[in-house]
Symmetry: C2
Subunit: 417 residues, 2 copies
């Protein structure tokens, strides 16, 4: 099961080929090093068109490729350096691998991120709106690696906890909590690392645009996710990434695919994670941090598979979560709610978002909204009297730039009462 899903994930990753990018015109020669490069590394680079350029010394190699599809220029210099230039890419974060004579390997020029069930390279295309997740001289929260024992799995698990900048200032102040989940093939490191969750909230708080709250990021399972439980055993706190391929699992689906999820390997992960979250993680967090430990001050959100988990778990635990965010992971229709009166009384916010390329039929790419129209569902839920919000990330697909923007739109709506 896991291998199949992983293959599917990788397949969709390399299958990512938008028609609009079918260009063969020469690249604009204004390439600059990617912001995700290792210190001092000049490659990979990105130009003003969003094209990526890779360079690697491989004198004896017969073939060097990247996992990016579409029109690509590949040259080998007399010095043995291979230069690969891709088509224009979407703004934001993209995961990739190099292939040298048949060997899939990370690009030694980049930092490494976790996604598609593996650690690997990534490149960042500067976005017009990147200011909201930049590191600035503002008060910063802390990102904490928290190890706790889980009875149900008889293992020490790792979660990451963001505490807001003023958390250490007043030892009597208590905070609401957002439980924020990654997608399939990703893990508890994704949101804090390439998701820039901490920087996004630091910047919003500095502008007075959101309330201070704690964010808890645990491992929701899925492709390769379970394996991360071994992480702490190595004392490692490597931080990883998700990437579009990671969303290929049934977990990414909305209503029509829930059956598949229910039958597949994700069923175990879903049930196991629901139990861990409700019966182990939340009690651990409420007993360790200065939380406001009640339903009105507890939110859950997630991307792709994590959105699907948020959807399922929040519908089943009305007394646990009052505010819900589903990013590229389906939506909630009135027909999904068993008791609308209770739902109206207990659920204070339902936020649904997608990348524009997921929902625009004229410009559809990998993924899509998965079944019922999320906009129609969200409108219907609003008509039923629920405080709903619907957001579309412009010109992005099932990828991190959509999810960074979703968190940026979602956070200011949280804990307003």
């Amino acid at each position: 099961m896991r291998t199949t899903l992983l293959s599917l994930a990788l397949l969709l990753l390399i299958a990512d080929l938008p028609a609009w990018a079918q260009t063969t015109r020469p690249a604009v020669e204004d390439f600059k090093p990617s912001s995700l490069n290792q210190g001092g590394k000049q490659y990979p680079q990105i130009n003003s068109e969003g094209r990526a350029r890779f360079r690697i010394m491989a004198p004896q190699a017969q073939s060097v490729k990247s996992s990016f599809s579409g029109p690509t220029q590949i040259t080998k210099g007399d010095d043995g350096a291979w230069i690969i230039t891709t088509r224009p890419l979407d703004e934001g974060f993209h995961y990739y691998t190099l292939n040298i004579d048949g060997a899939d390997v990370p690009d030694p020029g980049t930092l490494f991120f976790y996604g598609a069930g593996r650690w690997g390279s990534a490149i960042e295309v500067p976005a017009k709106d990147q200011d909201f997740y930049q590191l600035k001289d503002v008060p910063h929260g802390q990102l904490r690696q928290d190890l706790y024992f889980s009875k149900s799995t008889n293992a020490v698990r790792r979660c990451f906890v963001y505490t807001p900048p003023d958390y250490e200032k007043d030892p009597s102040k208590r905070y609401p909590v957002l439980y924020l989940q990654h997608g399939a093939g990703e893990d508890e490191t994704g949101w804090g690392n390439q998701g820039h969750a901490g920087l996004i909230i630091d910047n919003l708080l500095a502008e007075g645009k959101c309330k201070p709250f704690i964010i808890v990021m645990d491992n929701g399972g899925g492709i390769g996710g379970g394996a991360r439980r071994g992480g702490p055993g190595r004392g490692a706190a490597n931080r990883g990434t998700g990437q579009p391929g990671g969303a290929a699992g049934p977990g990414a689906g909305g209503p029509p695919r829930r059956g598949a999820a229910g039958r597949g390997g994700f069923a175990f992960n879903f049930n196991a994670f629901e139990h861990i979250l409700i019966d182990e993680l939340i009690p651990h967090i409420d007993s360790t941090y200065r939380t406001i430990a009640d339903q009105p001050h507890r939110a859950m959100a997630g991307l792709s598979m994590g959105g699907m988990q948020t959807r399922t778990i929040s519908l089943a635990h009305l007394d646990t979560f009052s505010q819900i965010g589903i990013f590229s992971g389906g939506s909630i229709a009135p027909s999904d709610v068993s008791d609308m009166t209770a739902y109206r009384q207990k659920v204070k916010l339902v936020f649904v978002s997608y990348g524009s390329r997921e929902v625009d039929p004229a410009n559809r790419r990998r993924g899509g909204p998965f079944g019922a129209d999320p906009k129609a569902n969200t409108d219907a839920l609003k008509e039923a009297g629920i405080n709903t919000h619907y957001y579309i990330s412009p010109q992005t697909a099932h990828e991190w730039q959509s999810w960074r923007r979703s968190l940026h739109e979602f956070a200011p709506l949280l804990f307003q009462e």
Copy 2:
């Protein structure tokens, strides 16, 4: 300068070839996956002799090598999989790269660590004494990424802070602080990641063998070190490693090489870091955490270049640090102390350690104690009335297993008054 040091570091890394390991007998076929592998990855593996075995699919490759020197067996299977088996390695942590047709790349099977100024692969040889840094079901401290603004560098810097398990329990309790430094070519991620600093202290505390204290790990500069300052800008919290090659810089040297350090690129790093530590980092830590902010409750230690920095900075700031640990980074002789009366009065502990292969002339490997005999220096300092300790890590060289053991020996001696 930096490039030269980096080359030297890499040179010494691959030059690591002990005579005792010149064995050509066939490997014992009891290989198991390394504990540092990515989730679910079967390779690299280690056998009971400490031999590493790598496997990578590279059907079209003409040549695949690893950076480990010495007798190595390399075969290519009909399936296109290359299998590389090395000589026996020391117990503990080893950094390496694969080379595919001339391209130096990380092994996609492992987690990635920071050392020799780059992120790359590593393998762990199970040690007889590994229990002291294993993840156990004991109370765990938190490892926090802390971002703070540094005036002298006009940049947001990142440090990692370990808070002991009971830190969140009693908001009125205050703690002593250990400032713990990495080596050249490493960064602020090394001690928390492959150094297992948190797990070592968690386990000692669970056995009642040391006092609870805060550990602060910042970037001391050196090879590639400065570049890490860009890290937070990417919101990244990748955790990395040092490895033996990282110690090749002048910073690793004792007295005889301080001149070189003083003239080289390290001079800037040393002076810059001394200023950051004393005037920016310590005030930030004392204003953010519940520390006991005085000299009797402040210690500094470091490995290799970090030991050299500890030596220099602690000798110059008697009123700041009372307890000192130098791991594979030189030693302190009475002649290094300008005012022995003041030193006797203010310095409560001087701990010096090395890997046995660094100091045993009959079994010397890369590095060595650098100049004056550290044992003789330490004995002389003891005779001068200073509380000194000297520790030799058995059968290890200038590598992380020596430094994990050094912290394990050093921690119980800290903050006893």
